[in-house]
């Protein structure tokens, strides 16, 4: 695959793909939770030679994964990862799904049980434009959070600061963090300027 083609996948896909791929070691085994259409797994297979499986609940997404030639296991993440042994994957990924989970705490701990490490990405609720909308008395709507309050699948939104305190409280070690806005890395004032946070984490042993 040429660099151009890779970029096309990145752009047509999600802006965290590249950041995630950079952290996935070549030839590693990957479990992608809430894998959607499976394109992240295909991208990781093509760019990192990762051997991956997706986990997905929705029938139409399972079908799309099969169409895309991606391994997919139909299963409900809210019930945990009972079918997967501890430490059986190099990396477990949850890309922009954390905020839509009901059992948020459980799934992060499950990821760190099954994976030697985990990559989590989520929309940062701390970005200034969202704060402003709340300050003006409205539920925020943005590029990364395009839903209205009445039709949003997101039930557990958090800020970068919230997630980091969650990690500290749960003995989770942040290995790396990248904060993005429109696909570009944000350096300073990440919780104020970033719209998407991507973390590489592991359980403190």
């Amino acid at each position: 695959m040429t660099e151009q083609e890779q970029d096309r996948i990145t752009l047509s896909g999600r802006q965290d793909f590249k950041a995630i791929a950079a952290w996935v070691r070549p030839d590693s085994t990957v479990l992608d939770l809430g894998c959607g259409d499976g394109l992240l797994l295909r991208y990781l297979g093509q760019t990192r030679n990762a051997r991956g499986y997706g986990v997905e609940l929705a029938d139409e997404n399972v079908l799309t994964c099969v169409r895309n030639g991606v391994n997919v296991i139909q299963s409900d993440l809210e019930r945990g990862l009972a079918g997967f042994d501890a430490g059986s994957f190099d990396c477990v990924i949850l890309s922009q799904t954390l905020q839509a989970m009901r059992h948020t705490e459980e799934i992060v701990l499950e990821m760190l049980r099954v994976g030697r490490e985990a990559i989590v990405s989520f929309p940062n609720f701390g970005r200034w434009d969202l704060r402003l909308q709340v300050a003006l008395g409205r539920m925020p709507v943005s590029e990364n959070l395009p839903y209205q309050w009445y039709n949003t699948p997101n039930v557990h939104l958090c800020t970068i600061a919230d997630f980091e305190s969650f990690c500290a409280d749960h003995d989770i070690h942040v290995l790396e963090r990248i904060v993005l806005h429109r696909g570009r890395a944000v350096g300073l004032l990440a919780n104020f300027l970033g719209s998407l946070a991507v973390y590489r984490i592991e359980k403190r042993r």
């Binding site: 085994t29 051997r51 029938d59 997919v72 079918g83 997967f84």
Partner: protein, 382 residues
Amino acid sequence: MAPENITKPRSVGAVKPQIMHFSEPLQFRSGAVLDSYELTYETYGTLNAARSNAVLACHALNAAHHVAGYYADDPENIGWWDNMIGPDKPLDTEKFFVIGVNNVGGCFGSTGPKSVDPRTGKPYGSSFPVVTVEDWVNAQARLADRLGIDSFAAVMGGSLGAMQALQWTIGFPGRIRNSIAVAAAPRLSAQNIAFNEVARQAITTDPDFHGGDYYGHGVVPRRGLRLARMIGHITYLSDDAMMERFGRALRSGSINFHFDVDFEIESYLRHQGDKFSEYFDANTYLLITRALDYFDPAAAHGNDLSRALAVARARFLVISFTSDWRFSPARSHEIVKALLDNRLDVSYAEINAPHGHDAFLLDDPRYHALVRAYFDNIHAAL
């Protein structure tokens, strides 16, 4: 073109069974040997020049080689998986060369208990070897040899057919590229064996059974076979599906204070049993239920299915149905777990269908769309 021709699924059309004779002895897992035997089979579609597009469709308990199409002299006799296999169907016979074969021990043309034993000039009857899934797959591999097929693009089956699709990946890992296991179990549970045992007891205690050698007496153990089918049929349907279809509906509108048919479900089961006992051989029923009981690839590997599948190289598609209580989704999870342990390519779908075990034979759009998408990718990789 008339509108009905646009919407009506196309069929492979009129088909003819063929017979392949084998004079090389077939050694069974039990140690028994058949010196020679025949397999009855059908094929649909065309084998491509590279001989890479062959798919084997494996039958379950009460079906056979007639998988798709119909017979010119019997147009009502439609193949058991005709909704799955044909032109433009999920397994497209315009792209794939599909084989259906009646397994050894069967009663639809392949050598089985009702065939004449050349050594005695009489039907094998009780002397026919107890067959196993492994024996069937070995015989299927020989048929593949004869047809010039080194490696199957896919072997697929539902229920007992899924066990064959699984066994192919263990017995002939280099000769199968994809295994499609629908409504599967890696081995029977005690409850599954219990149902089989009741069915067998019904047959073997029928006074017309004659120890399995009823052919010479001019009778068949029809009552036993009928009961066996009725019991089996209950396990193929879900409680909900049965309630939905029959409920407590009464044949004559009221109960009659007798033990003949009152409820519609009784009438239905009796009808199924009667129909089945007309065409199925009781000894074959015994053999096939035993093959189900004995299938247990993990047994030789310390009951570790992951170790049993360590030799497998195929890609897998595993599909279960939520309402299947005979081989529940949990049984498919066992297979998926073992495949994951071996880092084999596998996709698994759990279809929310109300029909129970029989759902694998029905035309569920989500199920068929998955199989179609999977075969499209196999075809693209040919």
